[in-house]
């Protein structure tokens, strides 16, 4: 039996099964994240949130999905048809494939590759293409302005995010995400790197175009930003892509800073449940921030990225690298 799983066909079947086991819960999670967000924001703003469809409104995501599916997809005249259809697929697809390397439990990733951090960073830096292509292909001024804004924003925040990741992997001594989580066995990186943890999370907000950095879709200025021309399922893909990206950034934060599947209390067993709880807490903070903070002005956003986050993360990186070298804390040295 074990021989069969080592053949090419066996590996293929195994990978497909693993992928299904990860992607199906992930997609359900994405659907219910929309429900969760509306409920939490309702509670924060003293409303009820969705409560009509099904018990407690639990069937609301399915109702929304059916509505989206039955509507007509409108492609504007003068739009670049191929790219117009391709853009939401890119956004959604990239948000999903990033999960290929995230370990939800010890060794439970689909691919346990040596350069997991680089893979994550590469995928999250590709996310900007969905936005730019959508804005350009729509042949609309508002969409184009939104695309330019969010492209500049995502590129700016990626820089400090990269430095934060480098600092984490200096402490972990590995680019492998599994090894990074195991390196946090005694102390989660959120403790010694607390400022970077905050920077990473805020950059994550900017990277996913979430409030208070949702300038790309600033309703009051440019209608809905880059996806203003999208309708029906192509709109739904953008919408779900945003939520999938939120889950992905939460997963990255959990793995890099919050100790992944490791239990916070020594007498409790480690396990996938801890990973889920931590991701859930991160997602709650995402929603909480959206319901609480007003939107940033564009120049403030750029100033925050380049003049505050970048210097702090650079200095922290140099300080951590120096301390690690001086005190001989280098792992696997």
């Amino acid at each position: 039996m074990s021989l069969f799983w080592d053949t090419n066909l066996g590996i293929l079947i195994l990978t497909v099964l693993k992928t299904l086991a990860l992607v199906v819960p992930l997609l359900i999670g994405v659907a219910y994240l929309t429900y969760f967000e509306r409920k939490v924001m309702g509670a924060i703003q003293l409303r009820k949130g969705p409560n009509v469809v099904g018990p407690f409104g639990l069937m609301q995501p399915f109702a929304d999905a059916l509505k989206m599916l039955t509507k007509e997809t409108i492609i504007p005249t003068g739009a670049d048809k191929v790219l117009f259809v391709l853009a939401p697929m890119i956004t959604f697809g990239l948000a999903i494939i990033a999960w290929a390397v995230i370990p939800v439990n010890n060794g439970w990733g689909i691919a346990n590759i040596n350069v997991g951090v680089l893979y994550l960073f590469a995928i999250s830096s590709l996310g900007v293409y969905g936005v730019i292509i959508a804005g350009w292909a729509s042949n609309s001024k508002y969409a184009f302005l939104g695309a330019l804004r969010s492209a500049a924003q995502m590129v700016s925040y990626e820089v400090s995010m990269g430095f934060v990741m480098v600092t984490v992997l200096i402490l972990a001594g590995s680019l492998n995400l599994n090894a990074i989580v195991l390196a946090q066995k005694h102390l989660w990186f959120a403790v010694p790197l607390f400022p970077l943890f905050v920077i990473f999370f805020i950059s994550g907000l900017a990277e996913t175009n979430r409030a208070p950095f949702d300038l790309a879709e600033g309703e009051s200025e440019i209608v809905a930003g880059f996806f203003v021309e999208y309708s029906a399922m192509s709109f739904a893909l953008f919408f779900l892509g945003e939520y999938a990206n939120m889950i992905m950034i939460s997963g990255m934060t959990t793995v890099l800073f919050l100790g992944g599947w490791l239990s916070p209390l020594p007498f409790l067993a480690n396990g996938v449940l801890w990973f889920l709880i931590k991701v859930f807490i991160c997602l709650f903070v995402f929603v909480w921030v959206r319901a609480t903070l007003p939107r940033y002005r564009y120049d403030q956003l750029m100033a925050l990225g380049w003049k505050v986050f970048l210097p702090i993360s650079l200095v922290y990186l140099v300080a951590v690298a120096g301390a690690v070298e001086y005190f001989g804390w280098l792992p696997n040295a």
């Binding site: 350069v115 680089l118 590469a122 350009w136």
Partner: protein
């Protein structure tokens, strides 16, 4: 077998997208094909086992350089017809260059053979039991540190050069220069003029000195 097939598949896509970069009518499409080419080059690195290089290529070229490139091309107002007028005229020259390059490559590939003792004579043989990220780091930060630093300095110079070339202080904003304000004395700004009765007074004409607020 499968890895060979994958190599041919991805190198075919790479070559096809490279052709499309040159021939596509729309410059934005050309840049998008260029990006597809970068991605496929990264995949080829992966197939060769150079995972670090593959992802660095993806991050630097696809994630940063090509985004800015796409930015610029989208903002430019290019006349597509004028762009393609030259194509006919320069096509023979391009074809000639391509032919020469191809002949040279064929010549090299036909005569190329790695000497049996070649790998033994390498200065830094392929390290075993370490990932190639670690192997690269051990070389770059020890034996080649000065060169590595030097290439960083070259990039810095290029960046400063670009900023110097494009930066223009248009004096549009009123900067407050506190040092100038502190150094200002009453005699710089105040003139006592005695007004005669019935004649009024006018300020004596002075050469005005431009200074920031």
């Amino acid at each position: 077998m499968i890895s060979n097939l994958a190599f041919y598949l991805f190198s075919f896509i790479l070559l096809a997208s490279a052709v499309m970069v040159v021939t596509s009518r729309n410059p934005v499409h050309a840049v998008l094909f260029l990006i597809l080419g970068f991605v496929n080059a990264a995949v080829l690195f992966l197939l060769a086992g150079a995972e670090f290089l593959a992802f660095i290529l993806a991050i630097v070229y696809v994630g940063a350089v090509a985004v800015l490139f796409l930015f610029v091309v989208m903002m430019l107002d290019v006349d597509f017809a004028a762009l393609h007028e030259g194509f006919q005229r320069y096509a023979p020259v391009g074809a000639l260059v391509a032919l020469i390059m191809f002949a040279e490559l064929a010549f090299i590939a036909g005569n190329w053979a790695i000497a049996p003792s070649g790998s033994a004579n390498r200065l830094f043989p392929m390290p075993e039991h370490v990932t190639n990220t670690v192997a690269l780091g051990q070389l770059i930060y020890t034996s080649y540190l000065p060169l590595f630093q030097l290439s960083g300095v070259i990039l810095l110079v290029a960046m400063i050069g670009a900023i110097v070339l494009t930066h223009r202080d248009r004096q549009r904003s009123l900067h407050q220069n506190i040092a100038v304000q502190h150094a200002r004395k009453p005699e710089h700004t105040l003139v006592m003029v005695n007004a005669k009765l019935g004649e009024g007074a006018a300020l004596p004409v002075q050469p005005t000195e431009k200074e920031t607020l």
